[in-house]
């Protein structure tokens, strides 16, 4: 990368694998970012992010011609090199997979430059010669997405995911506006792919079901002999863990490098002594035990990688990104290990965040622009509220479209008091405010909210509102200044990326043989005074809510605390199973009507389910089903 004139506007794009997204930065400031799935309503949509780009341009007021560079988040030739070398090394194994993969490359992926330009021209005509098209490496994009928005002048950076071009994990050192790559782990050895292999074997979808596996793991019995045996088998037969945290995946037990499946089912069935779980079938204790085993191994590897990052950089700060950085249980363990004094995790740690990272890498490295860190802010992500927002007029138009009645509350504090009272009396609320979140988590602008004290709430929201598996836990959103009253927190967690334990004094006495309880009985036992957000192992995936980044949500939590003495709420994403998080008021209204949600709050407008004409609409909307994730 060489030096050019100072940059002012850069568009970052990630696409063609999963979770395509776009982000725009102007003079190093993150102006807007969004995932394509929110607009197309196709979960993890991999297609070119036309809508997300259009939104970024509209929001920023820039045209494509105003940009200094357009940046794609990885290097297609390098990826193709990996593909060819992998097939060559494994040949003749994988011939059919090779034959299936090649046409897509020859038709499209090798000619990404041309395709990107064509797609952009379809959005707006622009001068291709004037606006640069650049391709930083995948893991550099991840590293940049974590380091540049962080509050650190200097930090170690750890990126871990399935695979980029060759790299599957990297250790970098960020200093000022520079990022130096110190060490990489290469395909086919990958912690992300190892976790995905277990996701597949346990009957969940690869690239979307990993977080379900993480939620399932705590149902495993950590003291059981079966878990010990599973861990032993993983560490002896499946992988080798090196002292520097790098791992070797024993390829005899994996098919992803050359096949169309993650693993050879029969070999795994023989190794673990259990059948591959078919999707949607009953979850048994042995599935949970295998889940906790791979979670423990993942945590062990992440901690070793972090220790190596510490050894190589000597830094007291760590930045994390890549899909594995969304494993908030491992993140919590990493923080507990106290290898670093401070930890920063990019909220859009997966490939969507690559769009932002790619743009930031070009701004700071290619264009050599200095970083300015605002010490009064927690980071430069604006709470990750970087998506579209909608006016009162649009909300009223939506209400008219659905022929619905509403109450408008002018004053924010009145709205907070009224909604808090509704939640406290057992209602479930769809809460839609301001700008949509960037990244996989709903952080209080596109959220479903409920009362944490209600032991029935987890079941109600899982089964009657989100139509998802009953074992799935819910996360608490807690006033940042009150988090330590409930959880063993060591820092803020504004992006719901750290799992911490509920304080011992809030726990109820549990039976001595609790760990051996079956899944449903474990779930039914009331474990703390905030049962709806306490997982079966007493952990919770915390979001600390800050006045600085989300005053509306902060005000609601304050009102709820004033009425109940509890400064926290259930916060789950505003969608049903298989649906991307809602983007527009129309999406929110549809979701509201087709579920048993009690109230919808769009900005300052409250919609009461009892007052809507739902009977016909519910049937109409049911026809619009989402594929299960």
């Amino acid at each position: 990368m060489g030096k050019q004139k100072p940059a002012s506007a850069i568009l970052g794009i990630s696409a063609f694998y999963h979770d395509s997204a776009a982000a725009i930065i102007i003079d190093g400031q993150v102006i807007a970012a969004a995932q394509e799935e929110r607009f197309t309503r196709i979960k993890h949509d991999p297609s070119f992010p036309t809508h997300a780009i259009q939104f970024c341009l509209d929001y920023s007021g820039y045209t494509l011609n105003d940009l200094d560079a357009i940046v794609f988040y990885d290097k297609p030739f390098l990826k193709f090199e990996r593909l060819l070398e992998t097939y060559y090394n494994f040949s003749p194994k994988g011939f059919w997979s090779f034959v299936k993969a090649i046409p897509a490359w020859v038709k499209e992926k090798l000619f990404l430059k041309r395709i990107i330009r064509q797609e952009l021209q379809a959005i707006q005509t622009y001068d291709q010669k004037k606006v640069k098209l650049l391709f930083p490496e995948h893991h550099l994009s991840h590293a940049a997405s974590a380091f540049y928005p962080s509050p650190f002048e200097e930090a170690a950076i750890l990126t871990i995911d399935g695979v980029g071009e060759w790299a599957t994990a990297s250790i970098c050192h960020g200093k000022g506006n520079k990022i130096e790559v110190l060490k990489e782990m290469h395909f086919p050895h990958s912690l992300g792919l190892l976790y995905s292999a277990f996701t597949y074997f346990l009957g969940f979808k690869v690239n979307s079901g990993e977080y379900k596996l993480m939620g399932l793991a705590p149902y495993g019995d950590p003291q059981s002999e079966q878990v010990r045996q599973f861990v032993k088998k993983i560490e002896s037969d499946l992988i080798t863990i090196n002292e520097d945290g790098s791992i070797l995946l024993h390829q005899a037990y994996f098919s992803y490098a050359t096949g169309l499946r993650m693993v050879p089912d029969q070999k795994w069935e023989k190794l673990f002594g259990l059948k591959k779980r078919t999707p949607e079938s009953a979850l048994e204790q042995q599935h949970c035990n295998l889940g906790i085993a791979i979670q423990q191994v993942t945590e062990k590897v992440v901690i070793k990688m972090a220790q190596e990052a510490k050894r190589l950089t000597g830094s007291k700060n760590l930045c994390l990104a890549g899909g594995v950085a969304l494993n908030c249980v491992a993140n919590g363990q990493l923080q507990e290990a106290q290898i670093f004094e401070a930890l920063y995790i990019q909220p859009a740690a997966g490939d969507a965040g690559g769009a932002l990272g790619a743009a930031l890498a070009v701004h700071h490295i290619y264009f050599d622009q200095q970083r300015t860190i605002d010490s009064t802010k927690m980071d430069s992500m604006s709470g990750s509220y970087l998506g579209p927002q909608f006016s009162d007029l649009r909300i009223e138009q939506t209400a008219r479209k659905f022929k619905s009645s509403f109450t408008k509350i002018e004053k924010q504090t009145d709205l907070s008091e009224q909604v808090a009272a509704l939640i406290a009396s057992g209602n479930v609320i769809g809460w839609f405010q301001g700008r949509m979140e960037f990244g996989p988590r709903a952080l209080g602008n596109r959220s479903i909210l409920g009362d944490i004290r209600n032991p029935e709430m987890q079941k109600k929201i899982n089964l009657k509102i989100k139509y998802r598996e009953s074992f799935r836990p819910f996360a608490p959103a807690v006033l940042a200044e009150k988090a330590a009253d409930y959880f063993a927190v060591q820092s803020i967690s504004p992006y719901m990326l750290l799992v911490k334990d509920v304080l011992p004094e809030r726990r109820k006495k549990i039976p001595a043989d609790y760990h051996s309880y079956p899944l449903r009985e474990k779930l039914a036992l009331i474990r703390t005074d905030i049962p709806a957000v306490t997982h079966v192992d007493f952990s919770a995936r915390i979001q600390t809510v800050h006045q600085e980044t989300n005053p509306e949500f902060h005000s609601l939590l304050q009102a709820f605390e004033g009425q109940t003495d509890y400064a926290l709420l259930i916060n789950t994403s505003f969608n049903v199973r298989g649906e991307p998080i809602v983007c527009t008021p129309e999406d929110a209204f549809r979701c509201f009507l087709q579920t048993d949600m009690d109230y919808l709050v769009l900005g300052n407008y409250i919609f009461d389910k009892k007052k809507q004409r739902t009977s016909n609409l519910k049937n109409e909307l049911r026809e619009q089903q989402f594929e299960l994730d």
């Binding site: 030739f77 090199e81 060559y88 046409p103 020859v106 090798l110 000619f111 430059k113 041309r114």
Partner: protein
């Protein structure tokens, strides 16, 4: 042309010259398949093999 230039620069930087014949064959066969799929001469292409 830009594609060929980029490909050349890539191979030069990576020094993986052994990929060149492989790439050539893949692009040739791939190109033929695509051409065959989308043109009137498609039905005659099989005679090449």
């Amino acid at each position: 042309m830009e594609f060929l230039k980029d490909l050349w620069l890539f191979l030069k930087e990576r020094k993986k010259w052994w990929l060149l014949p492989l790439l050539f064959i893949i692009l040739l066969i791939g190109g033929l398949i695509i051409f065959a799929e989308s043109s009137a001469v498609g039905s005659f292409i099989y005679t090449l093999f």
